[in-house]
Symmetry: D2
Amino acid sequence: MSAVKIAIAGASGYGGEELLRLLSGHEGVEIVAVTSRSAAGSALGEMYPRFLGTRYGGLKFSASTAEAMVAAGAEIAVLALPHGLAHEFAVPLLAAGLRVIDRSADFRIRDAAVFEEFYGGKHQAPELLAESVYGLPEIYRDEIKAARLVASPGCYPTSMLLPLIPLLRAGAVSAEGIAVSSMSGVSGAGRKAEVAYSFCETTGSLRPYGVPKHRHLAEVEQELSLAAGSGVRISFTPHLVPVSRGILTTIYAPLAGKAEAVGAALEAAYAREPFVRLLSGSQFPDTKNVVGTNFIDIAWRPDPRTGRVVLMSAEDNLVKGAAGQAIQSLNLMAGCRETDGLL
Amino acid sequence: MSAVKIAIAGASGYGGEELLRLLSGHEGVEIVAVTSRSAAGSALGEMYPRFLGTRYGGLKFSASTAEAMVAAGAEIAVLALPHGLAHEFAVPLLAAGLRVIDRSADFRIRDAAVFEEFYGGKHQAPELLAESVYGLPEIYRDEIKAARLVASPGCYPTSMLLPLIPLLRAGAVSAEGIAVSSMSGVSGAGRKAEVAYSFCETTGSLRPYGVPKHRHLAEVEQELSLAAGSGVRISFTPHLVPVSRGILTTIYAPLAGKAEAVGAALEAAYAREPFVRLLSGSQFPDTKNVVGTNFIDIAWRPDPRTGRVVLMSAEDNLVKGAAGQAIQSLNLMAGCRETDGLL
Amino acid sequence: MSAVKIAIAGASGYGGEELLRLLSGHEGVEIVAVTSRSAAGSALGEMYPRFLGTRYGGLKFSASTAEAMVAAGAEIAVLALPHGLAHEFAVPLLAAGLRVIDRSADFRIRDAAVFEEFYGGKHQAPELLAESVYGLPEIYRDEIKAARLVASPGCYPTSMLLPLIPLLRAGAVSAEGIAVSSMSGVSGAGRKAEVAYSFCETTGSLRPYGVPKHRHLAEVEQELSLAAGSGVRISFTPHLVPVSRGILTTIYAPLAGKAEAVGAALEAAYAREPFVRLLSGSQFPDTKNVVGTNFIDIAWRPDPRTGRVVLMSAEDNLVKGAAGQAIQSLNLMAGCRETDGLL
Amino acid sequence: MSAVKIAIAGASGYGGEELLRLLSGHEGVEIVAVTSRSAAGSALGEMYPRFLGTRYGGLKFSASTAEAMVAAGAEIAVLALPHGLAHEFAVPLLAAGLRVIDRSADFRIRDAAVFEEFYGGKHQAPELLAESVYGLPEIYRDEIKAARLVASPGCYPTSMLLPLIPLLRAGAVSAEGIAVSSMSGVSGAGRKAEVAYSFCETTGSLRPYGVPKHRHLAEVEQELSLAAGSGVRISFTPHLVPVSRGILTTIYAPLAGKAEAVGAALEAAYAREPFVRLLSGSQFPDTKNVVGTNFIDIAWRPDPRTGRVVLMSAEDNLVKGAAGQAIQSLNLMAGCRETDGLL
């Protein structure tokens, strides 16, 4: 089988860089173009010396246009662009016959009005929202295989949805009263020249932000509502902590039945999933066990004192929360094994 | 006024070291003895080179006994010992006429049965529990001034109680349905030779622990129940994160009335407190603004979508959460200004 | 004695912030003005929430002009400005009768041609170079007391000069063949919005820079040559490492006589200095013992295998290497005890 | 071609763990046994949850004996044991017909007297020293291919020898007057339960150690002397810095001829090496570009002011400095491509 040809837009961010790192070891994929507004004309190894001497070290960034991606012969395009820009690429790429995996929020929200409430501005390609598939492979595997347009989930949403969806589907937890606290590494903010993300301002710093209405709530509540069969509203507090990579999420959910139903629902959903690890015994998730990998580790503790279950998950925000999860979708779309390049 | 003479037991831990650092700059206090089982006979500056050339650099650790503290002429003893050891010192020290500030949990819980449920083993000096004052100066200032025995609060409890007590007293939040997520720096685990706290195992690591029934719940629920006038049960998840010092706590509490009542209750309680800073506008607490100081920073955000308020606090676990708060009590007991040595 | 009135220009950088932190505890000094181009009009506590509720939290930044500093009634001005800007302030401030402590390199180099070789551009006030005193208190204490203009040393130079000057003066080491490796925390680069100093690009990073001709060589070789009585040329490599604060310097110097002469010369120079700690026995300097303090720790190890001595020093680049050392000079100029506000 | 069967002794240390991580992706190698004194009987994934769900997650640690390794059918044994223990395994393993790659210092030093000077105690298998090959593949590739016993180099030595050997061989630098400063991540100290390596004692800490006679000098000076054709003595100072992984080494060497000879010699030696990257232009080595990889990055700057060249290298102490370099040797011995599992 010949390798599938892909192009990556916005490859100079942390998520794009991680796509390149992971795909360097994926024999079934050939990257034919990488675009970057800031780095066009430079070779990957010049911009990011860690790639010198590796498979794509000599690949040159092309201008950041859909045309360049089509001209390179790509079959599938991965968009690692800021919110609000993806539609400029997705529309012409789809028109040119490519399939598209989008890492932005632009096609994650089915209801354009909700998108506009959380992200501001008018949605520029609402006609694609009905077609777009929310790219959580553990939940929408078959739809992804057949999709033209996949909206790959956000990093925080992945860490909440995978623990909660099976529980809401099974009625093991209540749809009301859920609260979530997450902490994320600084790479989640992107490669930014801002004092707020400088070493000195972050290294000894623990801080919440985006309270009480972080943008990721839009996609999280959409998917939780679908799982619950009714509208779900949650509290969510993200925190910035001094690690480069990793998200640790802690969820408080009211038990809706017996405590044992929690483990049963998670086991039923994930026992055969290659990238979801349910921790047993006294183990807790720890980001150091997942950084650099596509795993998400999940543990849970029923608390009879409060009638809640505490769910905890750990993932690498740049892998399972971004590039790795996108490669799972890519593998599904291209007919590769889902674990290729990832395990 | 001559300086009050104090002795510190267990001064070789991080909390004890911080007491020594802060008291080096306190003219109204003279440290006459420091005890340490492991360091007896050594000078402070030998054990901790950062103290070389400072006020107490030449002070020698004495054997870890109550007798040594009495013999040194101390008027007030500060105990920075592990849980379960404090009563061995407190009983003879009180008998010898000293006043005692205890940094362990031994005298924080009014009900010996609750202590035994959370800490295990039989309480060794239950007769002192009725007399002991819970050493939160903002809540129990007058009682501390007159106390013989002060049980200085734990680091996590301080970060929850100061935001929540005024709200429960004022009826601004409900006593049911409170959930708390905290993250703490590694010094909270003490100066320990364990692989789990080594640099390599913690630097890239975010992890929960002690779920769902951390020991600190005993004192937290006791004090919240007193504030609410009824029994309070909360969910609490502590997390270990890669900073040396600092606790960031995020609290979800159901609003019991108008959202404005939250700010009003906090302002009424803390507007004149020297060490509680209520953050206004768009500011969030950040541990980097409090590390090394005795401040606790508090912010709040009502969330009409969920009917909750999100409360956030930041403190230095070794200062406001330990040594600094103990010095506030010491100042109150000794008749110094409450801010001496701290501001 | 009434407090001496001082004004600080460029107080919004890390060095300026540290001056404010240290002077908050100095009763003999009153800050009457702080200037900042970017923060004029804001209160210190608004810009830097860590100062809320402290002595200078309400102080407002004024416009960044010499006039504002004169108008505020300052007797001594401390300039914490980038290289090449200090003369714009120093000339009018001196003309208005103020004394000046400059934290930039502008007045450190006696020979304007050397300044221009290392810093580029024409020196704008060469007539002041003869008068300016190099502000190393341990070396130029009497000159500083009487100075109108003090050029406070750079952070790296302090860490090399204090170990080496007594050895060159005593002839214990050779003036030829000295090599120096230093590593510095990221605050040394200033409060900068650059990707290169972002958390993700620095936290796992060890890197040299500025090889082989770092600007600080100008003042280092000037002072070493004065100590040796002949021209000294050294190799110097600075490295950026992932700490906020601290410089660790390692020096290789050929022994010129007996190995014992090294310790003897250092003891003779520093035994009575309050801020230089000569480490004995098996101790090595460690930045964690000096961060936040004005100490410099020095150790040495003769190596008979190579005929060299290895000298090692640790300091806080923002205190002994910057703000603290400037306060030593300020105390000397103002007639305070040299340790006021620092110990 | 069937996979070569290997066994790893001491697999529960950081170096052993890294071997397991890298070999999980190496199709030409099959691990048939891992031994650990502390973990015998447990599965790899139980001890190190990061391996759960990966190729070797279910592999059980066997008792730490040579017999267990032979019984498992291993053809090549990799020893990741503390110094002084390797001979207990190497002698019986060689006798049983296995080939051995040793990661300790036991077989690196050709002269048993030098070994005993630097490591103490009597060498237990001096008869093997003449046969053992020093496992630097870029220098001893052909010897490694044919070796029964390979002594894989230390982490610091690799970072010095690769830059210096070609220069000494070519006469581009002098054999006298070389000085080296290195800084290493904390994993270099091993997985240790010691307060000195705890997070709180290392995170803000920069410190030298092992001055002036670190053990690694024995192998470094041996190999430099072979390259120079005469005895070489160098100064070497290692430093501990707060990163998990990575070594940055800075070398001062007197130029012996024209400055251009340095680059020419390095280009001649390494232009075709897959794992040595010579940085051009203004680039400096940075550990963040090599961590997790088997690359060593090298740059150089002649300094006409001092007549020296400054050489700088960066490597991952656990990969190119340990596990990766051992796999290069393994590949050479087993007839795989040298880059298999590494690129």
